[in-house]
């Protein structure tokens, strides 16, 4: 039987441990805002240069050995609607009408976040953020839960619903296996006739983007989309119109998506380790008193 003194000692020890875990945990969180790998590569997309030729879609299809498209890649009828990425097309170009009648085009693909929400949400750890900046995934361990589709703030991961036997998540991998791993630019960047996309070290691209804005402030909105959004992305955008006019959420949080749940999730191990000990102690204390009292009652009953 535990006596009162031991129980109080236990409680004190528990709370000291809890406090120290709390402090360590808090420090860990404070230092935990990840700025991205220092040498990570990125792409700066200048929407003012895109002419909507869809060469990038063709190059992606070819490089990633994707299935035949429904329509040829030079068919402009696809611009009649806003498309999204699919298991057959890791990138698609959409057309956005603007006030001055010069339409803008934007290529959609994975933005390769510094702190990817897809990676955070994946419970089988299928996703990896490589030091080169690419967010890749291991299809062999994917169980098809589609958590990443819900987590992604840009609606990028697509799901091969049509596969009856082994449906999987499919998305742009920054041509990691065939190109970026070896220092070469992705296929879409290389084929683009207008150099809409500039490939380079992400930190250099941020500087370059601000330089372009500074040199032509009348041409650009004074913001690089993706520099800060959701903790920063490897793919970033320059535009001549507000970003919400080209299908990008202009009110995206600057905190990574994981910050929304990090504090709560950080508490889970603490609760699991401390609460059992604490409540066992309280329970023992409570039942000890109650037990003595109960025994007493019982004895009284016996006597009657």
């Amino acid at each position: 039987m535990i006596d009162r003194r031991d129980f109080l000692k236990g409680c004190l020890a528990c709370s000291v441990t809890a406090a120290s875990i709390g402090v360590v945990g808090k420090n860990a969180f404070a230092a935990g805002s990840f700025e991205g790998y220092p040498d990570a590569m990125g792409v700066l997309v200048d929407l003012t240069r895109c002419v909507g030729c869809r060469s990038c879609e063709a190059a992606c299809n070819n490089e990633q050995k994707l299935p035949e498209p429904d329509l040829p890649f030079d068919d402009e009828s696809v611009f009649a609607e806003q498309r999204r990425t699919t298991p057959k097309a890791y990138t698609v170009v959409n057309k956005y009408e603007t006030a001055d009648k010069n339409p803008l085009f934007r290529k959609l693909q994975c933005n390769h976040c510094n702190e990817p929400a897809c990676l955070t949400s994946c419970f089988v750890n299928a996703y990896t953020k490589t030091k080169e900046g690419a967010v890749i995934y291991n299809a062999k361990v994917c169980v098809g839960c589609r958590n990443c589709m819900i987590a992604c703030p840009f609606d990028i991961p697509a799901y091969s619903y049509s596969s009856a036997i082994n449906p999987l998540i499919k998305k742009c991998i920054f041509c990691y296996d065939t190109r970026v791993k070896n220092g070469r630019p992705p296929a879409c960047v290389e084929i683009c006739p207008q150099q809409v996309m500039t490939f380079g070290r992400r930190s250099d691209l941020v500087e370059m983007g601000h330089e372009r804005i500074k040199n032509d402030p009348a041409k650009y909105v004074d913001k690089i989309y993706g520099e800060k959004e959701v903790g920063g992305t490897s793919w970033m955008y320059l535009s001549s119109v507000d970003f919400d006019k080209v299908g990008l959420d202009n009110h995206m949080q600057n905190e990574p998506i994981i910050s929304n749940v990090k504090d709560f999730l950080g508490m889970v191990p603490m609760v699991l380790s401390i609460w059992p000990a604490l409540f066992t102690g309280i329970h023992l204390l409570a039942t000890k008193n109650k037990g003595e009292h109960g025994d007493h009652d019982h004895k009284e009953g016996d006597q009657q």
Partner: protein, 176 residues
Amino acid sequence: MHAVKQQMVMALIGAMVMLVSSVCFGSGIPDRITINSIQQYYAGVDFNHASHINNLKDCGLCHHHTTGAQITDPNCVRCHKNSGAQAVVSCKGCHSPTPFSPEELKLQRDQHPPIYHMDKVGLKAAYHLGCVGCHKKMGAPTGCQDCHKRNENGDGIFHSGKYAPKAPAKQKTSHH
């Protein structure tokens, strides 16, 4: 007397201009240039340099300051206000066909001083941004195949022409 002097000065200036221009135009400026940096997918462009010179007159519109033309871009003027003609004038002399190769990226990073020419586009983009930009303004052709016909390899990756998808085509939405 004064008028005669003025006429002589004018004549002298005229003679000098003619001399200078004859030197320029006599020194191997090509009349036609074959541009074939993307011949993997498109036929080369037989570029009529002579007619562009005749129509535009201003070399600086395409060649920046390299031909000794007066430069107006405020960013370039900071250094090249008085830059004379350069030894290298051709597009491919400065614009790299592989602007994102590891070697090229390293060269750009190691540039001294580091901020100038940092954002120089590759050769293909130099052609397209220059040509298409001006063609738009001038009302000249801007379609891809107006300048260069796609070859069979190009049709292949675009899944067009004889490589067009054979699957029952989706109802084509009318396009304006």
